[in-house]
C-alpha cells in the first residue's frame, strides 16, 4: 500500500515542528526515519496514524486520507509508545483482543504468536503478569508483536530497537526484514540506530527541525555514510 504525504505541516504554539511539502512512500518500501531528538520523527508517525491533527496538508494511505476515514486502520499495524498497550490485560489477552479487532480468530492469533515466541522469550507469555507489570523492554516487545501479528500491509514503528537487549534487536531486525520482503508490507520505522536501519531499509530520510534534509536509498548510495557524517558534524 502506498503512503503519500502532501503539504503536511504541524505546529505547536505557532512553532512549526514538521513541514513536509511532498513525500511518496511506494508500496512495499521500508522507510527509515532518522533525526536528532525533536526532529519531528514521532510527530510524523502520529500524524500518519491520525493521532494528532495536521495544521495543513494530509497523509493518505492507499489513496485514503487518514483523517477522513478509518478504513486504512484495518490494514495498518503500529506501535509508537507504551500508551498503545492496555496495561491491565495479560500479553495473551492483549494479543487476542488486538486480533479480534482486526478480524482474526483466536486460533489465527495463536498460530501467529508461534512465529514470535523466540522474540518474546520466556518472561512474557504464560507468566500471568499484566502488561503493566512487565519491564520496559518486554512491553516494547509486546507492542511490536501486537502490531505485526495482525499481518498488516502498512507497519509503523517508533524506535523499535529501544529498550531491547542486543539479541532481541537482531531478532526484530530480521523479522522486520522478512515482513517487508515476504509480505510486501510498507513500513515506516523511526530509529536512532543507523546500523539497523542501514541493514533493513530500502530508503532513509533524515529529518532536522521538521524538514527532510536528506532522502537516501542505501542500495543506491551504499551505506548510510552521509547520515553518519551528518550526525558527526552535529556532535562537533
Amino acid at each position: 500500500m502506498k503512503i503519500q504525504i502532501q503539504r503536511l505541516q504541524k505546529q505547536y504554539s505557532g512553532h512549526t515542528v514538521l513541514d513536509i511539502p511532498e513525500l511518496d512512500i511506494a508500496s512495499g518500501e521500508l522507510l527509515g526515519i532518522v533525526g536528532n531528538n525533536g526532529a519531528g520523527k514521532t510527530t510524523m508517525l502520529r500524524l500518519a496514524l491520525d493521532l494528532i491533527e495536521a495544521n495543513e496538508g494530509h497523509i493518505s494511505i492507499d489513496g485514503e486520507k487518514v483523517n477522513e476515514d478509518t478504513h486504512w486502520k484495518r490494514h495498518t499495524g503500529s506501535f509508537l509508545d507504551e500508551g498503545f498497550l492496555i496495561g491491565f490485560l495479560t500479553p495473551e489477552e492483549y494479543f487476542h483482543f488486538n486480533g479480534e479487532v482486526y478480524g482474526m480468530s483466536p486460533a489465527q492469533v495463536d498460530e501467529g504468536l508461534e512465529l514470535y515466541k523466540r522474540f518474546l522469550g520466556e518472561e512474557i507469555l504464560g507468566t500471568d503478569k499484566y502488561i503493566r507489570q512487565l519491564s520496559t523492554g518486554n512491553k516494547q516487545k509486546v507492542g511490536i508483536v501486537a502490531a505485526m501479528l495482525v499481518n498488516p500491509s502498512v507497519l509503523m514503528l517508533d524506535e523499535p530497537f529501544n529498550f531491547l537487549d542486543p539479541s532481541s534487536q537482531l531478532i526484530i531486525r530480521n523479522i522486520l526484514k522478512d515482513v517487508n520482503q515476504l509480505r510486501g508490507a510498507t513500513m515506516m520505522i523511526s530509529s536512532h540506530n543507523i546500523n539497523h536501519l542501514a541493514d533493513i531499509c530500502s530508503r532513509v530520510i533524515l529529518l532536522e527541525k521538521g524538514l527532510i534534509i536528506k532522502d537516501i536509498r542505501p542500495e543506491v548510495n551504499g551505506r548510510l555514510d552521509e547520515v553518519e557524517r551528518y550526525f558527526a558534524s552535529q556532535a562537533e
Partner: protein, 493 residues
Amino acid sequence: MFRKLISHSWQMMRRSAFFEKSMFAKGFIAFVIFFLVMNLYGLGRSLPLLLNDQFPDLAPAEWVYGALPLILLGDLFMRFFIQKVPASHVVPYLHLPLSRGSLSGYRLFRSWLHPINFYLLFFFYPFIQMTINPATSNQELGLLGIFLLVGINHSILMLIRTPGKESKWLGFLLLILLLTTGVAYYMIPEKIMQESLNIFLAFVYARPAAFMVPLSMIILLQLIVYRQTIKNFYQLYESGEKVEKTAGRNIIEDLLASVPVYGPYWVLEWRLLSRNRRTKSSLYTFLPMSIAFAVYAGFWLTEPGQTGMAMVYILIAGGIGSMHLQHAFSWESHFFDYIASRDLPMEIFVRAKYYFYLLIGGIQFLLVSLLLAFLNIDMMLLFAGISLYSMGLGFYIYLRAGIRHSSRMDLQGKASFNMEGVSGMKMLLGLLQFLIILPLVIIGFLLPVPHGAALLVGITGIVFLINHRRWIKKLGQRLEARKHINLALYREK
C-alpha cells in the same frame, strides 16, 4: 466490540492496584463502603422523623423535595472536586480499527459508572418510602426522577470537563444559574420550594412531561459531549507537546529559594506539587476551600451533642489530613533520589518538609480562625484545636508512617499519593489519622472545663509542635536507615 470495551472497564477496575491489596485491607474498604451506604440509608430513614420533631409545621416531604434545587446544586459543586472523567483510558484504542464514535460512546458509558451518580439514591430510596404513599403514587418513579435529575448534573459535568466552545459558555451559564438560584431562594423561598415539590410530585404521579424534560436534557448534553469527545481525541496526544506554562521560575519559587537552609528543598517540594495535576488542584483549591469551610462552619455548624461533635472532630482532622498531610506522606518523590544519593542530612530534609507543610497549614489556620472569630467563636476554638493537633501530632503520624511508604509521586500527573499506590497496611496507617483524634476527644469531653476536647487536642498538638526538633531528629535517623530499602523498592515498581 462495544461489549468487549465494556468488559475492559470491568477488568480495569477488577485488576486495579486497589484490589491487589491484602484481604484485610479489602475487607476494611468493603466495610467503609458499607458504612457510608448505611449512613446515607439511615439518614434517609431518620430524617423524616427528625424533621417532624424539629419542624412540625412543615411536612418532611415539603422540606426535602422543596430543597431539591439546593441538593442538586450541592451535588454539582461536589462533583467538581470528586468526579474525574479522564479520557486517557481510550488512548490504547485510538490506533486500532475502532470507530471514534464507539470510543466516545465507551467514554460516556464508563463515566456513568462513577459512584457519585448513585449515592443520592441510597438516601432517597428510604426517604421516598417514608414520605410517599404507595397507594396514591409511585415510589419507584420518584427514585427514577431523582436519578434523572442527578443524570443532568452528571452530563453537565461531562460537558464542562470536555474541552470545547460549549464548555466555556456552559460554565458561564452555570455560574449565572447558581447565583440566580441563590438569590431566588433568598427572595422567594416559598415559591421556589413549592415549584420544586411540584416537579417531584409530577414524577411520583407519573406525568410523562416530568420525565421527558430531564431525559431530553441528558440526551442533548450527552450528544454534545459525544461530538466534543470525538474532536478532542487529537488533544490526548497533542497536550503532551504543548509547552507547560508552569515551567520556569516564578515569584513564589524565588521567595521559597531565598529561605536559608530549607530554601532549596522547598523549591523542589513546591515544584513537585505545582507541576502535578492532582496535587496542583488540591494546592490551589485549599484557600477557597478553607474560606468555604469557615463560612459553612460559621453560619451552620452548631454543637450537635457529643457524639455528633466527635464526628465533626474526625471529619475536620481527616479533611485537613487529606488536604496537606497526604503530600507529606508522599515524601519519597522523585527528588528523593537526588537527596538520597548526596551527602545531605535526612534530618534537615524531614524538617524542611515539615516546615513547608506547616507553612501551608499555618496559612489555612490563620485564615479560617480569623473568619471564625467573627462568625462563630465556638467553632473557632474547635477549629484552632484541631488545626494545632493536625500540625503537631497529625504531621508526626504521617511523616512517621511515610518512612516505610515506598510508592512515589508521578510528575507526569497521573499518580500522586492516592490509595492505589499504597499497600493495605500503610493505607490503614494513613486512615488512622482520621481516627486517632477520637480518644483525645473523648477524654476532652470528660474534662470539667468548657471546650475541653478542643483544648486537649490543641494542647497535644502544641506539645508536638514545641518538641518537633526532637522527633524530627529521630525520624531523620529512621529515614537514613531506611533510604536504601526505599530506593530499591522504587526501582522495582
